[in-house]
Symmetry: C2
Subunit: 337 residues, 2 copies
């Protein structure tokens, strides 16, 4: 897979490097805009925002927006604002998620709610969402506004859906896919589609990028789910087991539960529903996941969506941006292989 970049502080493959190269100048402007639009006379806001900015996410979503606009020879600055809006929407979601999930750590750092409290996390999330909409309005594209505001509704709807299926081991794979389609894929989809929209590309081009984003988002989430149990390796890495300890029913668990013996199902019930989720239980869970091929099959499902994403872009003329976006699919999958 070439040189391994230390992109997210953990691991990563060179295949996202061309996306980073192509968007480097504009990402510098995105980063400036993030700082300026997270500014406020109310000190708590920039303080909390800085914590989030420093916590070093990949910024994959805004890079996708920028590259998707470049593909169609966009020459204005609207894509920089839209990319920043997308990142703000993502950040607002993380802030609210941490409150909803009562998470103490994210990427190994204390969550904002642990430092500034749930109250500030809810409200600064609301502020960032408001700022995201203001930037979209500045760009002035009603189509882009429609796409991103719809995404905002769908994401929240997906989060509520996730609440209602939480800790339910009988969740089917289809139901789980509906959750992650709303909660994760909708923003990737919107991030990709607003690129051609702001560039005035055709309906077909918009649909291609939308489909790319949706399926990339699904693949991305499923790989994340697999990584949370250590991926293909059965070594316990640093951030392994977070989903397990939070009682999250993700695809590896769904597959393993459905394929398991009555005894195994009883184990999953005690772990997920009754919070019997210590290190010994985690080790046993990982054993069951591998026994039933649940990790490998989750990665297989991710590959499936990755292929759909790849075919979505197939009709588009060859450009460095197209290659870079295709590389991102491989990058996502390669995180786990």
């Amino acid at each position: 897979m070439g040189v391994v970049l230390n992109l997210d502080g953990k691991r990563g493959a060179a295949s996202v490097a061309s996306l980073m190269d192509l968007t480097a100048d504009e990402m510098a402007r995105v980063n400036e805009l993030i700082l300026s639009k997270a500014g406020s006379d109310v000190e708590l806001i920039p303080e909390l925002a800085k914590h989030l900015i420093d916590s070093g996410g990949k910024r994959l979503r805004p890079m996708v927006t920028l590259a998707a606009a470049q593909m169609f020879d966009y020459e204005g600055e609207g894509h920089v604002k839209l990319a920043t809006s997308v990142e703000f929407m993502h950040t607002a979601t993380l802030l609210h998620d941490d409150v909803v999930d009562e998470s103490d750590l994210r990427r190994g750092r204390k969550t904002a709610r642990m430092i500034w409290g749930n109250q500030a996390s809810v409200l600064v999330g609301d502020f960032l969402l408001g700022q995201a909409f203001r930037m979209m309005v500045e760009v002035g594209s009603l189509d882009a506004l429609d796409i991103l505001s719809t995404a905002a509704s769908v994401i929240a709807e997906g989060e509520v859906l996730q609440l209602s299926v939480a800790k339910n081991l009988e969740t089917t794979e289809d139901e789980y896919l509906a959750v992650i389609k709303a909660k994760t894929a909708a923003l990737f989809s919107a991030a990709a589609e607003v690129g051609p929209v702001v560039a005035g590309a055709t309906r077909n081009d918009r649909a291609a990028l939308r489909s790319y984003g949706t399926n990339l988002g699904l693949a991305f989430q499923l790989v994340d789910d697999a990584l949370d149990y250590g991926g293909k390796s059965s070594d316990l890495g640093k951030n392994v087991g977070d989903d397990f300890r939070e009682g999250k029913v993700t695809l590896p668990v769904i597959l393993s539960y459905r394929r398991g013996s009555p005894d195994e199902r009883a184990f999953w019930k005690s772990a997920i529903e009754d919070n019997q989720c210590d290190d010994a239980a985690l080790e046993k869970a990982i054993g069951l996941l591998h026994k039933h091929g649940a990790i490998g099959d989750t990665i297989g499902r991710a590959r499936h969506f990755g292929e759909i994403a790849r075919d979505a872009l197939a009709p588009l003329r060859p450009t460095p941006q197209k290659d870079a976006l295709l590389d991102v699919i491989d990058f996502c999958i390669s995180r786990v292989t």
Copy 2:
């Protein structure tokens, strides 16, 4: 003040009746739209939304939007969507506020967070905000979108500011006004301004309605602050003392604290900062508020902003809508007199 309507289950004056009459048909469509846009296949969402809808707010903000559009002979349906958006923004704010304030009751009913939990309240709030933006986008006015998205940011910023001044008795009147201007007046202001905007009225007309909304909002909040301590009467009504028990530093408290003796200030500190806020303390607090004329002066400040709101509309040609909006100012003040 004329006939007393039992408008909000507590008290109210006839002076809001003409606003209700003028907007009755369109409010029926707003209410339909509220139900349809709060719909979702995720059952929890319409369930929780119905709870909010049934809890019987006045819907003053959407009525202001409708009347403000009628004033300028608007004939489309955009104002109905914008009015619904305004109400959704308000509802989303209430949901998040109850989580932030850890409130158990609102208007004498259990808050959504007490029934469905903080998680659902945060997420359904996010959903309603997303739906609000989608409706605005459907209307297609970038100016209206700008006004309402800016309001969303400003409201959240005001809430964060309130967090940072919370329980601080040294808060000045100016600082407090900055909080309520952001947190309450900004939405009234936006609700009023989008009326002329969607109707294509002049800059001056927009500015007049914006100023009306801001100052009406300030008056409204200050009257609420006074009512929370029983208003001019020193009888303890049903919902009296909520702010006190939550340790909120509102204008009556600010005035009474600043005008008080060292002993009185020590009392306020124990009550607000150390939560010594039982019924005896509340009775003492109300005594101090009256001793220093803090309730009367809070109402005086509200009248001041009410007069500015009145003058803001002065240049506009006489219409039933103008009269109705002027009546709303009296209605607000009359709640406390």
